[in-house]
Amino acid sequence: MSNGTTAPRARRAAMVRYDTLEPAVLDGGFAALAELGFDAVDFPLVWSQHERSGGRFDFDAHERGARSIHTAIDAARRAGLGVRVRLGPRCVETEAGFGVPRSVLDDAAVMARNARRGAVLEPIALVPTAAPSLASRAFIERSCAWIAAATRVLGDHGFGTLESITVGAGSFAPLRGDAITADHHPEAGPLSSDPAERVARAERIALGWYDALARAALEAGAPVEKLRCSLIGPRTTAVAGDEIASRFAVDCALPFASVGTEALWIEVREAVDSSPLGARFDVQCGSAPFARPLRNRDAAAAARVALAAGASELTVRYAWCGEGWVGSLLDSKGVVQRVAHRWRALFDECASIAPRAAREGARRTARPAAWLAPVSSAWLAQFGLLDHHEERADDTLAALELECDAEGAVLARETDEGLVLLSTTTKPATVRDRRQRWIASGSHAIEPGAVSVFRGRSGGAA
């Protein structure tokens, strides 16, 4: 996919669960990540590991197994890697309660409520867990206390050492959507039977929570230009996604590889176009043991589509994790696993694809409403089950005066960077450009799963 020209490349970060690793292995592991082509690390700071009781926090609790974020930041900087920190409150799916302390989740004033005033339960790592209400004053206060304390600790080390601080829900999509969309918590306000009013209410609740978290981080000293919000699930289905993206740079989930090349392309394109302050994409490598398994070759193929669609920043979730995750690129000792080289090859291959900026006034394609209440729309979208891609038949080849010997095998897009061809099937195909406007040789054989970029007559593809 290289054409020999120099272009700004997409930034790629590796999520590192430093809290599950021995400090002694950090230097070696970070050097290995840099060698693999990552230019930043992304550290989740897990609330439940630092709250002792009733809003008192301890960031150096070695006796409880908690490991210092400062040690990890210093080691990453020594390896020449940029550092991003995500504070949650819900930032990791492998921890009980997604990282929110049990004492918070078990507080009756925090729990999201169903129509019968029972708790809204989410299965987290096979444990039924009460989902918190984003409308709960108690949850907002405790979340903000955590964000403020964690931000101050980062500030002690100097915000200058950080690329960004992310607050929010974690970009993975939890299974239950009704914890927000149909929350009967007394502080959530009345629930209308009108679907549009319900959506507006959910967006109001989510926005209030995000605003409070952002304010807590800023008041604790976080520089405004480094603050980001992590959406719930993919950008185009996240609750209040448009509103949040208009105020903050956002982190969002890339849907899983199985949704297909075209769906991934459209998701990334629309997310970038409609996120004026920037959008990062979290891609899963491997899986939690209780989730659908994901092979790295498929995760890397999804990342390839995202890069070709113009993603400017990717974060490979759980790229290095001591335990509780299947398929990390480094083992708990920091030894590079075989799968890691697939990512390195991808980064080399995509080095010359230029990221894309937001387009003014861009609008997302309207998606149908969730059809399986109380399952969250973001979760359905992540699995390709909230189908918004009504125009699957691709006629862009003809529009660009290109021909393909296998019908429906190649997706063609004219972009700011040139012509992009994406293989959308498991069979090889040949694309012909009779007028040689893009492909100098007049034809290009594209392998299954490949992405080729042509920059007009002077360019080429490999």
Partner: protein, 342 residues
């Protein structure tokens, strides 16, 4: 709590897809091919006689012109080329989860919470708000209690003991390995092939030597081994789908399936399989005379294995249910030793 360690995505994927081939990871460019593949699950959400939404696991949203009750599910499956159909009344899932949420005591162990979910599902099924096709689990089955679940766990793998399985490809190279331990006073531990190979070195594909090496390591490092298995992955996949009685015991006798050590539940399970196979064979030879005797023999076989096998404890032939599901599921994904870097 369950602790996972030493898996890479490839071997975990291999293990999971033996039992759930439909969960196989797929690259984005396989989507179009998947859309055309037969099989899969059709999920229908209905309100009265109208369909709110219908989604096929391979093809996404699809058009269904109306809901005509449980008797129409087979026809829906044929129309949409699905192997499984689940029909849910609009709002039933909310009702189910609301009931579950209202009953769960969050201080209770999680297995109690899941049993309460099973109760809630049964209620919703009994109230005819959710339908399954085909109906693979016999109706009227008592919900296992916590004691029964604990008893089943103790039977299969007692506290303080370990189990392992080594699966090899047809060319005898290692496909996947797993070890499970229930240490006393420590979390349930699941260990993957990467950690096992890292500890004892590469496995040779020789069942006897490989099993000795893994067993010695587990005995030394984790807990005494209660049961161990060595087989080709293709053999296990075929046995899980086998319809005829006696397939497991035949594979065991022919050495395709090596089980060592063999705890009583394995011996009883294989014995029951032999007995079922003998009844089937005798029925062929003795004809109508055997028809009169067979029910009593089958009953005696069930009674004999009731306390010694998992199916006896749970009152449900787990193997038969798994087999029925797998025979309708996607074909297993083959794996080759050239496919190492995923």
């Amino acid at each position: 709590m369950i602790r996972f360690e030493g898996f890479d995505a490839k071997s975990w994927h291999r293990l999971v897809t033996i039992f759930a081939p439909g969960f196989a990871s797929r690259p984005p460019n396989a989507h179009a091919e998947r859309e055309r593949a037969p099989g899969g699950l059709l999920l229908v959400v209905f309100r009265g006689t109208s369909v709110v939404a219908a989604v096929h696991s391979h093809r996404g949203r699809c058009e269904i012109d109306g809901w005509r009750g449980a008797s129409s599910m087979q026809k829906l499956a044929e129309q949409t080329d699905a192997q499984f159909v689940i029909a849910v009344e609009d709002g039933a899932l909310e009702l189910l989860l609301d009931r579950w949420g209202a009953r769960v005591d969050l201080d209770e162990p999680s297995r109690e919470g899941w049993l309460l979910l099973v109760d809630a599902v049964r209620e919703i099924v009994d109230e005819r708000k959710i339908y399954f096709w085909p109906d693979l689990v016999p109706g009227g089955l008592p919900r296992p209690t916590r004691t029964v679940i604990d008893g089943a766990a103790d039977l299969v793998l007692p506290a303080g003991r370990a189990a392992y399985a080594i699966l090899v490809r047809d060319d005898s190279t290692l496909d996947a390995a797993i070890a499970i331990a229930r240490p006393v006073g420590a979390p349930f531990t699941v260990i993957g092939g990467e950690r096992i190979v890292g500890a004892i070195g590469a496995l040779e594909g020789n069942p006897r030597r490989d099993m000795q090496a893994v067993r010695a390591w587990l005995d030394r490092e984790l807990a005494p081994v209660h049961v161990g298995l060595h087989a080709k992955t293709s053999t296990i996949e075929a046995l899980l789908r086998a319809e005829q009685a006696g397939a497991w015991s035949r594979a065991f006798n022919e050495g395709q399936l090596v089980i060592d050590p063999s705890p009583p539940w394995v011996v009883a399970g294989l014995g029951a399989d032999v007995a079922r196979s003998a009844i089937v064979a005798a029925r062929g030879v003795l004809g109508t005379l055997m028809d009169r005797v067979a029910p009593a023999l089958e009953s005696a076989t069930r009674v004999a294995s009731a306390r010694a096998t998992l199916s006896g404890l749970l009152g449900l032939d787990v193997g038969s249910v798994v087999g029925s599901v797998l025979r309708r599921s996607s074909t297993p994904t083959p794996s080759s030793s050239e496919d190492e870097s995923d």
